[in-house]
């Protein structure tokens, strides 16, 4: 079940993106964090123990919502606007 529930912008223009290989839809005006957590309940795995994480402060302070594009580029999900066609990878759990 998704973590975030929309109470506004429900009918805004859909924006297609790819999340861990699967096609998804966000809405115009979404941050990456919103687009991802409106689909599912985790955003990344913690660096050392692989715990599920889903951001915390949503204002660019805690740095706990970094995700990557398939090309390797890192993005802070709470402060990056969703752009159509983004190919986002969240499941980059590091090898132990």
């Amino acid at each position: 079940m998704p973590l975030l529930h929309r109470i506004a912008r429900k009918d805004h223009r859909p924006i297609g993106f790819v999340l861990d290989g699967a096609p998804c839809e966000g809405r115009e005006g979404d941050t990456l964090l919103t687009a991802i957590l409106a689909q599912r309940e985790r955003l990344r795995a913690s660096d050392f123990s692989g715990e599920p994480r889903a951001g915390f402060c949503q204002m660019g302070a805690c740095q706990d919502c970094w995700v990557a594009l398939e090309n390797g580029e890192r993005l802070r999900a709470c402060s990056t606007a969703l752009v159509a066609g983004m190919r986002i990878v969240t499941g980059q759990r590091r090898a132990a």
């Binding site: 079940m1 975030l4 109470i7 506004a8 912008r9 005006g29 715990e51 915390f56 740095q63 706990d64």
Partner: protein, 461 residues
């Protein structure tokens, strides 16, 4: 005009906007650098796109102030330089390193106003890193800026005015609020009556919000302790101690915060002297009533200089700008400065009242279990910190960081630093002031290895 570089304002929240306005009014052309895509700061943050909700829906009783700030800043266009979505990541010797539009620019400035704001103050509790747990500020941003609720059944936990405000905003937006858990005892709220003569409208508004929450059937619990957040992969509930027994409540979202803490990294990199502030339980950059720091030409305004709220930030921003003008020998409105100082003093008194109504939880460092995650970046648990303190014999915060990694991760101690200081003070039997503060290090937030220096971009044309 002189050939001096332009003044630099960091932050486009209430303090930064009013500072910019005052400098522009005096004929200067400041550069305003802000991380957000639009002005307003966190409290008056704007949506990325319109969503059918009104300012009143978003900002409630503060809608008029929010609209005025957004409008006034927009009206300055053309008379200042404004770099949104830009990160000032380093300060040295009168120059700022700023990441903007994919490159890094080095900008010389003459006069620096730091309006860097605040984030929620956190004390770690079991389960606080689970998906579904956000800061109070985070929950508020999801609601106001993104039009999302962090759950279908939300518990708000902690202390401070924001606790009740955010709960009330969710209730008003039609989100189910399962409970408000206040870590302070109910008796502390009687202190608010002392604030009535100072700011009756604020006290009464707070009382009205509390009453409306009750009327809506939201359970309000006071003096909540021994809190545990339940769940394996995400939040499933919350448990807390009450009168010797444990109470549990299912929920799927939690907003948590214990008042606010100032963002002081840039003041530190600017070389400002710090002093311990007992009210905020933190080291803050020293400043005079107008916002002058120990460094000539560096000014502080807003919550980044000590928590005082948005109304104070607007005044402090303007006042800091007036101080900058005065120090430059430019015409400035001394009478206006006096009025602003008096208003800030009154707000300062009210802050004392609020602190007594929403006191800091006194026994956290004693009670925090060894297994509780203290530093969520480096994943250091409270027990590891206790062992590092004992094993290495450290009693100063930077030394603790060196041997335990607390505060060494991506967030540089923004989230865990306050808790680490509390725990270190407790473990060593020292005053909080005696364990020191984490020294700030550039970059104040992560920057990519490939970030290139753009030598040809200058701040002003």
């Amino acid at each position: 005009m002189s050939e001096r570089p332009q003044p630099l304002i960091v932050g486009a929240g209430p303090a930064g906007i009013r500072a910019a306005q005052a400098l522009v009014a005096a004929g200067l052309r400041p550069l305003v650098v802000d991380e957000a895509p639009a002005c307003g700061g966190q409290i008056y943050r704007q949506r990325l796109v319109p969503d059918g909700r009104s300012s009143r829906d978003l900002y409630g009783s503060e809608a008029v102030k929010a609209e005025a700030l957004h409008r006034d800043f927009a009206a300055l266009a053309g008379r200042l330089d404004y770099w949104p979505q830009s990160l000032l990541w380093n300060l040295r010797d009168g120059r700022a390193d700023i990441m903007a539009e994919g490159t890094s620019r080095q900008v010389a400035y003459d006069g620096l106003v730091l309006a860097t704001g605040a984030t929620d103050r956190i004390l770690p509790i079991p389960g606080w890193t689970l998906p579904g747990v956000f800061t109070l500020g985070g929950a508020q941003i999801a609601l106001k800026s993104q039009g999302c609720a962090i759950g279908n059944r939300i518990v708000f936990l902690g202390s401070g005015p924001l606790l009740y405000l955010v709960a009330w905003q969710h209730m008003k937006a039609g989100v189910a609020v399962a409970a408000v858990l206040d870590t302070a005892p109910f008796s502390a709220k009687f202190n608010l009556l002392r604030g009535l003569p100072l700011f009756p409208e604020i006290v009464l508004r707070g009382m009205r919000m509390t009453a409306e929450l009750r009327l809506a059937g939201v359970a309000l619990h006071y003096g909540v302790g021994d809190v545990r957040i339940l769940g394996e992969e995400r939040v499933e509930g919350i448990a807390w101690g009450a009168a010797g027994s444990e109470r549990r409540l299912p929920c799927d979202g939690i907003g948590y915060g214990l008042a606010l803490r100032s963002e002081t990294q840039l003041a530190d990199l600017a070389g400002c002297r710090f002093a311990f502030n007992a009210r905020d339980r933190a080291f803050l950059p020293e400043r005079d009533a107008a916002g002058r720091t120990s460094m000539p030409g560096v000014y502080l305004a807003g919550d980044g200089a000590g928590i005082a709220g948005a109304d104070a930030a607007e005044r402090a921003g303007e006042l800091a700008a007036l101080a900058l003008l005065e120090d430059r020998g430019l015409p400035h409105d001394a009478a206006r400065a006096q009025v602003l100082e008096a208003e800030l003093a009154r707000i300062g008194h009210f802050r004392e009242v609020l602190e007594s109504a929403f006191p800091f939880p006194p026994h956290w460092a004693t009670a925090v279990a060894d297994e509780t995650m203290l530093c969520r970046c480096e994943e250091v648990r409270a027990g590891e910190v206790r062992r590092a303190v004992a094993g290495f014999g450290v009693h100063e915060l930077n030394r603790l960081k060196a041997v335990s990694r607390v505060g060494m991760g991506r967030c540089q101690g923004r989230i865990c630093g306050a808790a680490a200081a509390e725990l270190l003070a407790h473990e060593t039997g020292r005053d909080l002031a005696a364990v020191g503060r984490l020294r700030s290090q550039a970059p104040v937030k992560p920057i990519p290895l490939t970030l290139a220096l753009d030598a040809h971009r200058e701040a002003a044309e």
